[in-house]
């Protein structure tokens, strides 16, 4: 045993004489870190790196089977799911790994922001981190394209539609992005090149620079309220802190990173086993249009936002929004490079994070059930509930039929079933008078199409008669008092034409 250890040491020495890496590695591992940074709050960066490595390994494994050809990619994914031993598991690991990576990178960013770690002298570390976030999102989008199914195909169409709005250069950018005039073989090939060579290469390079700076500049100390960053004194203060109360990174702080990394890997694997791989959904056949494409969860907020922006604001928001957002993130360390680090003394920073989190969370939640989209099958699939038909006249029942057959139901719900694009009509008779109902149906307005050309007068009469029955029991429908008076007078006044 002792002899084996001796041989091992000798072999190690032989290599180190030539590589000369042991000393620098030891220096990095044992560099002193402020004692209070050995915290569970500081584990997200290393966790992101761990998931990235998982993605590299599983990505290479998938590339053993996957065929980046528009004609065969979908079938090769099916083979991975069903034919290749444990292919489904590797796909599930890679898919869940991507979800975890986006999530952990975002948490890491929020933590760094709230702990003021982007301030002097770590401005460049933050900026490189911003680009790492963008590259991660680039990986997420291009990865979704490689899962070449209906969602990927129409998702590319959405990307092309956004790119085409760039003034003057739009059409050229679309052709460059698609590799031709349409979404086809060349499109998948170039997204494969981006996902497998270009972006991972940049990620590795940027991660290396990011880590180098973390080691050279030292890990951000735990922020204390009142301990203010000043350019002139910070570096000395930090060195004194690490000298006075520092501890070697290995093993003092690293064990928490290791525990959390293992926990994250376990969570990814558990999700992969329990939920399985993502898709692929239907074949990428553009002639099959019975599909409602949806992005993966990290872009759902954008999907929601695009539904709510008014048409006039959309193009400016799409083109200027990202520039402003990225510009702000890059400039942040220059706008507030000094001053308080502690979140306890930075209420606006905390509120900003909360506001953005609530906005993104709400949009993501809404995109889960897309209240802005018509329910394409509600008119034929969701019958008018019984309670709305009880005690109705023949005309009103005819109106209920018109209501279904003209697809009103696709946008308007009754009894909580049907589309949510327009208002629910359970009590519409309380809100609108007969005249207002007729006008709304025929002329549309307020985001409702005009149905004047698609309804005969008889159909309109029946439909409005039905809509007027939609009020709670014991509450009378809305009526126009002036109309009653006019009609009453007409009844009383002798009709001049009859005389």
């Amino acid at each position: 045993m002792l002899r084996l250890a001796q041989i091992g040491a000798q072999v190690g020495e032989w290599f180190d004489r030539r590589l000369q890496l042991a000393a620098p590695i030891r220096a990095v591992a044992e560099h002193p870190v402020p004692r209070n940074t050995a915290s569970w709050w500081y584990v997200f960066g290393s966790a992101a790196l761990t998931v990235f490595m998982l993605q590299l390994v599983t990505g290479i494994l998938l590339a053993l089977i996957y065929v980046p050809s528009a004609g065969e990619a979908w079938s090769s994914l099916q083979a991975l799911n069903h034919d290749v031993t444990l292919g489904w598991f590797i796909r599930a690991l890679h898919g869940w790994g991507s979800n975890f990576m986006v999530g952990i990178v975002l948490i890491h960013m929020v933590q760094v922001f709230l702990f003021g770690a982007y301030k002097f002298p770590r401005e460049l570390t933050w900026i490189v981190g911003v680009f790492l976030l963008l590259l991660t999102l680039g990986m997420a989008f291009s990865g979704q394209v490689l899962r070449f199914d209906q969602d990927a195909y129409w998702g590319l169409g959405i990307g092309a539609s956004i790119a085409s709005r760039v003034p003057i250069l739009g059409p050229a950018i679309v052709k460059l992005m698609l590799g031709g005039p349409i979404i086809a073989g060349a499109t998948l090939s170039r997204f494969f090149a981006l996902h497998v060579f270009v972006i991972p290469g940049m990620l590795i390079a940027f991660v290396a620079v990011h880590l180098l700076m973390v080691i050279k500049l030292g890990i951000n100390e735990w922020p204390m309220p009142g301990r203010v960053v000043k350019r002139a004194t910070y570096v000395n203060e930090y060195h004194e802190l690490t000298k006075r109360s520092g501890a070697p990174f290995v093993p003092y702080a690293v064990w928490k990173d290791m525990f959390f990394a293992a926990f994250v890997l376990l969570a990814v694997a558990a999700c992969a086993v329990y939920f399985g791989p993502f898709g692929p959904s239907g074949m990428p056949d553009p002639t099959v249009i019975q599909t409602a494409p949806k992005p993966d969860y990290f872009f759902l907020w954008l999907y929601g936002l695009l539904s709510y922006l008014p048409p006039s604001m959309e193009t400016p928001a799409l083109l200027i929004g990202p520039v402003v957002a990225i510009g702000f993130l890059v400039l942040l360390p220059f706008l507030s490079g000094e001053g308080e680090k502690s979140w306890r003394r930075r209420p606006i920073a905390v509120l900003t994070v909360l506001l953005i989190a609530i906005i993104l969370g709400t949009l993501t939640h809404l995109a889960g059930y897309t209240p802005w989209s018509p329910h394409m099958n509600a008119w034929s699939g969701d019958p008018v509930p019984d309670k709305f038909l009880r005690g109705t006249t023949a005309l009103e029942r005819q109106g209920a039929l018109v209501f279904q057959s003209k697809q009103c139901r696709n946008c308007h719900s009754l009894g909580d079933l049907g589309g949510q694009r327009g208002p629910a009509l359970d009590t519409v008779a309380v809100r609108l008078t007969q005249d207002q109902l007729i006008r709304q149906v025929i002329q549309g307005g307020g985001n409702m199409p005009a149905y004047g050309k698609n309804l005969s007068p008889a159909e309109t009469t029946a439909l409005v008669a039905f809509l007027q029955t939609l009020h709670p029991a014991g509450q009378t429908p809305a009526r126009n008092a002036a109309r009653d008076i006019v009609l009453d007078n007409q009844d009383r006044r002798p009709d001049p034409q009859r005389q």
């Binding site: 050809s69 528009a70 004609g71 065969e72 129409w154 169409g157 959405i158 092309a160 539609s161 956004i162 790119a163 085409s164 709005r165 739009g170 059409p171 050229a172 679309v174 052709k175 460059l176 590799g179 031709g180 005039p181 349409i182 979404i183 086809a184 073989g185 060349a186 990428p284 056949d285 553009p286 002639t287 249009i289 019975q290 599909t291 409602a292 494409p293 999907y303 695009l306 539904s307 922006l309 048409p311 006039s312 959309e314 193009t315 802005w372 989209s373 018509p374 394409m376 008119w379 057959s405 003209k406 697809q407 009103c408 696709n410 549309g444 985001n447 199409p449 005009a450 149905y451 698609n454």
Partner: protein, 182 residues
């Protein structure tokens, strides 16, 4: 003693070396950039657009809107199913047609035709269009994209070949209606 302005033999060769590498790099950059941008330049020179048949006029009853499919005129060997494209054909009357792209004018999702209500509806963000392709409601800024068509020898033919997007040349050509034209 050489003055600061003097160029040494080694310094000269160093500069020449940099210059020579720059020259080669530039010479190589021309074909590399040409290759990278070929999908754009090819479209400009020959054009991706050409006339493709959709079928005989008799396949499209008057006053109705039917889904038709065609094969994109520009095909590469690895395209698979993606070159098969769908479009909505509305025969107004006689030889008068309207051929709409399935791609919503908002962000390109496939719109579906509902003959009962005379509307095209988009499943993504809720865009809706009337039977003549004009915008009815929702986020689109304009009506559906229309392909140029002609009827020759009883055959409906459209000019196609590019993905219709809000900025594409085909989109600028036809179907542009002022918002809220309804």
């Amino acid at each position: 003693m050489p003055s600061e302005n003097d160029i040494s033999r080694r310094g000269l060769f160093m500069k020449l070396g940099i210059f020579f590498n720059g020259l080669v790099a530039t010479a190589l950059a021309v074909p590399i950039v040409g290759f990278l941008l070929s999908s754009i330049t090819r479209g400009r020179r020959a054009g991706y657009l050409s006339w493709v048949p959709l079928g005989p006029v008799s396949e499209f009853p008057e006053g109705e809107t039917r889904l038709a499919t065609f094969r994109n005129p520009y095909v590469t060997p690895t395209d698979g199913k993606t070159v098969d494209t769908a479009c909505w054909v509305r025969r107004v009357e006689g030889d008068q047609f309207q051929v709409f792209a399935v791609n919503c004018a908002h962000l390109g999702c496939p719109v579906r035709w509902f003959p009962q209500s005379g509307l095209f509806m988009c499943p993504c963000h809720g865009g809706a269009y009337y039977r003549d392709g004009s915008r009815a409601s929702g986020p689109p800024e304009r009506g559906l994209f229309e392909y140029p068509y002609k009827v020759t020898n009883g055959l409906v033919t459209i000019q196609a070949g590019e993905l219709p997007t809000p900025g594409s040349s085909t989109a600028l050509l036809l179907g542009k209606k002022p918002p809220c034209s309804a």
